[in-house]
């Protein structure tokens, strides 16, 4: 009897965890992301210093009351630069995802809906894009067309579009044989209306986590590109560029690496947690219930 009781109590915990995990995950993620957005909002109106102001007398100063996060090798205030870097990170990830989504929708919905040769052609196209290692494609594109922010955004958008196309295509194929879609087809509703109004809203549960993950991955890519010197143009700040600059001061000025890395990881982790939360809550855990 005793061990049965023990089993009972763990079971309770088990279910509680499943049901709460999604919410906890979402809330934690939202807090992390919210913090980064708060920093971004503040940076629009106020930064302690001009983030691009160099100061020869304050090179590589450790954090102090004057410079809360210290200064970098050009005497610039790290806190101010972190604040203004959030702008770039948020802009690139969101704009890139918007482009990827539009392209992915154009490809995925139509391919899934019409099928046949058209579908095969679209899948061939997106598979071909996916065959290029993503970061490589983005790097080469930026190297070839110049490393302006817009080029970075477009390159990343194209690189990420096949993943959305896939999610949407699979979803569309699964749904397009549902009876409510057959109904719409019988009523001769315009195919694009069927795709956007009838099908798309039902794919949101699959699409939203993909979008959030996409945001996180895009941020990873963007920071990697900046780190390799092919992203943001100086003197503008981005986390990847700040980390790249800080590389040589790892041992002597760790604050240069700690704070931007912290913000970057916070942003990405926040997005992951949110997507995990959304996923758990929409898929209802998948195991217990």
């Amino acid at each position: 009897m005793a061990d049965r009781k023990a089993k009972l109590s763990t079971s309770k915990v088990n279910v509680k965890l499943t049901s709460d995990l999604g919410r906890i995950s979402f809330v934690v993620g939202a807090c992390m992301l919210g913090f980064v957005f708060l920093v971004f909002l503040i940076s629009v109106f106020y930064t302690p210093y001009n983030p691009n102001m160099t100061d020869a007398s304050n090179i590589l100063k450790a954090p102090s009351f004057e410079h809360l996060f210290g200064t970098d090798h050009l005497g610039r205030d790290v806190l101010s630069r972190i604040m203004s870097a959030s702008k770039y990170t948020i802009f690139v990830s969101f704009a890139g995802i918007a482009i990827a989504l539009v392209l992915g929708m154009l490809m995925g919905l139509t391919a899934g809906y019409w099928g046949g040769i058209y579908d095969k052609a679209i899948m061939l196209l997106s598979n071909s894009i996916m065959c290029f290692p993503g970061i490589l494609l983005a790097l080469v594109a930026v190297a070839v067309f110049g490393s302006s922010m817009l080029n970075v955004v477009f390159a990343l958008g194209i690189v990420f579009s096949p993943s959305f196309a896939r999610v949407l295509r699979t979803g569309t194929i699964a749904i397009s044989n549902r009876e409510y879609i057959l109904h719409a087809k019988i009523l001769k509703v315009n195919p694009f209306r069927i795709m956007v109004v009838h099908i798309l809203p039902n794919l949101l549960t699959a699409l939203i986590p993909a979008v959030v993950i996409g945001l996180a991955n895009m941020t990873l890519f963007e920071s990697a590109m900046s780190f390799l010197g092919l992203g943001v143009q100086p003197p503008a700040a981005s986390y990847g560029k700040m980390l790249s600059d800080a590389q040589s001061y790892v041992t002597t000025s760790p604050w240069l690496i700690v704070f931007p890395a912290f913000m970057l990881i916070l942003y990405i982790l926040g997005l992951y947690f949110i997507s995990e939360g959304v996923r758990i809550r929409t898929s209802r855990g998948g195991t217990i219930e």
């Binding site: 049965r4 009972l8 279910v15 549902r178 009876e179 057959l182 509703v189």
Partner: protein, 535 residues
């Protein structure tokens, strides 16, 4: 295991057995509540009840296949007089397959897709200590013959996906019976199969029970199946047995009101009368004329499927007000016919003349007949938008309310989402969506098969009233001969893509000329008779 206990009359005795599941809202939710049950050696024991009554959990408790989070609150289960609950898990697991066999409902997914039949069945023997390869093979061959495969060699090397549903269920039965268990637990083994196959599986099980002396615990929600197959039956409600006894006694003269209501719901007789639907006038111009039509999934540019005609050379006419029944086993091409008529598929040959008729369609599955992302209002407006019918706000409002009333739904439901409605309500919304365009013809593809009997009855009476009020013709596609026989004036029997027989209902049902029709009617007859009718 001692000899005296093995000779006991009851192979299974469940004593005051209680089982709980943790739940989000209530803490521990009881699933079985002081259950008492005993099964006589050699008998076929049926357990029935609505879903959630605990019949499956009873079976799983005996087979010790309960989900991890289930917690046993008290009582005991004796198998051959031996307490199962006090056994160690390993020997309990070994008991499975050897002394207790189990088969499940889903023949499509209950076999490992990566394993050939020989390996899947051989595994049972290996795990119970049979090592000799030849012995394994001969045992499997023998058993495959027992379950009715005429050519077992060919089956051995197949993968599950290469078999039909009925064949897979036979393989599962073979697997469960390989070690000649003394108890076979069947958890809804036929509910995914069509009538003809169901009857053949039931016949197989019964013959095995007799020839091998296997006791069977048969779980089913279908009173007809239980009625024609089981010797004894127990009716469960809320985790307890409320009535049990010899099947014919329980089903003919139930002692509890609950059993009675179950029985009532299982039959539609009470809502059906003979003048339920209108009689057509065959001299009028047909609504729909189909001649020599073939259709299927062709290899056109914008289609996913490969070229294949599913239906061939179909010809028939439909007249106004007529209710035309289409019957046939699964895979006979009924649904393809419906899809072709409503324009989802283009005929590859022949002609289809629709005399300027608006068609409404009601599909089988209430779970997917409505778009979960939109509310009912949107669903009802969508046909108007698609047909570009412009109405003033007031007109629209009145039309919507009238339509909702027509299908017996409160206008306040307009703002609900599909998941807030029951299956029957959803099916009625689907009908409302047809109705709003005032169709002359409604194609109903298996509209009842996913509904419980009372909802089905409601939908049926709704269709009837539409038929009366608007003189709408109905093409009713169903495998349920019982319903078709009550409502249709004419029937068509389909088999492997063609119409093998058609004519007035009474003629076809009284003297079927085609083999397909005969099989269907024979299966239906057996299902609705007493246990002795089987084999």
């Amino acid at each position: 295991m001692n000899k005296s206990s093995s000779k006991s009359v009851n192979i299974i005795e469940i004593k005051d057995f209680s089982l709980c599941f943790p739940s989000k809202t209530e803490g521990m939710k009881p699933v079985l509540n002081k259950l008492n049950l005993s099964i006589k050696r050699g008998s076929i024991f049926g357990v029935t009840g609505n879903s959630g009554c605990g019949k499956t959990m009873t079976a799983m408790s005996i087979a010790s296949l309960l989900p991890k989070e289930a917690s046993i609150q008290g009582g005991d289960i004796l198998f051959n007089g031996q307490s199962l609950l006090s056994m160690d898990p390993h020997s309990r697991r070994l008991l499975l397959g050897d002394k207790i066999g189990v088969i499940f409902q889903e023949p499509m997914s209950a076999l490992d897709p990566l394993m050939r039949i020989e390996a899947a069945l051989g595994e049972v023997l290996i795990s119970h200590g049979v090592k000799d390869k030849n012995e394994i093979r001969s045992k499997i061959m023998e058993m495959l013959k027992v379950v009715g495969f005429k050519n077992p060699d060919a089956i051995l090397n197949r993968y599950p996906h290469q078999l039909s549903g009925g064949q897979r269920q036979r393989i599962l039965i073979a697997g469960a019976a390989l070690l000649k268990p003394s108890l076979l637990i069947c958890d809804e083994p036929t509910s995914a199969l069509d009538t003809v196959t169901t009857i053949s599986i039931l016949e197989l099980l019964r013959s095995m029970s007799i020839s091998m002396g296997i006791t069977m615990l048969f779980i089913s929600h279908d009173l007809n199946v239980v009625g024609c197959f089981c010797d004894y039956v127990a009716v469960m409600k809320d985790g307890a047995i409320i009535e049990k006894g010899i099947t014919s006694r329980v089903l003919r003269s139930p002692q509890t009101p609950y059993t009675l209501s179950l029985l009532r719901k299982s039959r539609l007789d009470n809502v059906l009368s003979n003048d339920f639907f209108l009689k057509p006038n065959y001299s009028e111009t047909p609504l729909l004329e189909v001649s020599n039509m073939s259709s299927g999934y062709d290899g056109r540019l914008f289609s996913r499927q490969k070229h294949a005609n599913v239906i061939h050379d179909i010809s028939f006419k439909m007249y106004p007000k007529e209710v035309l029944g289409v019957i046939g086993g699964s895979g006979c091409g009924k649904t393809t016919l419906a899809k072709t008529i409503c324009g989802l598929l283009t005929p590859t040959a022949g002609t289809m003349l629709l005399n300027d008729v608006i068609i409404g369609v009601v599909f089988q599955d209430p779970a997917s007949c409505l778009n979960p992302s939109h509310n009912i209002l949107w669903h009802l407006l969508e046909p108007l938008k698609a047909k570009k019918i412009k109405l003033s706000k007031l007109e629209t409002r009145e039309l919507l309310i009238a339509t909702m009333k027509e299908v017996n739904l409160k206008p306040s439901y307009l703002l609900r989402y599909p998941h807030q409605l029951s299956g029957g309500q959803r099916q009625r919304v689907a009908i409302a969506m047809c109705l709003i365009l005032k169709p002359k013809l409604i194609i109903a593809d298996e509209p009842f098969s996913s509904l419980d009997a009372s909802s089905a009855a409601n939908v049926l009476s709704l269709l009837s009233s539409i038929n009366h009020k608007y003189n709408t013709a109905i093409l009713l596609i169903s495998h349920n001969l019982h319903i078709v026989s009550k409502v249709a004036s004419r029937v068509m029997v389909m088999d492997s893509g063609t119409i093998v027989e058609s004519g007035q209902l009474s003629e076809v049902f009284a003297s079927p000329s085609s083999q397909a029709a005969k099989d269907l009617l024979e299966a239906e007859r057996k299902l609705n008779s007493n246990p002795n009718a089987l084999s």
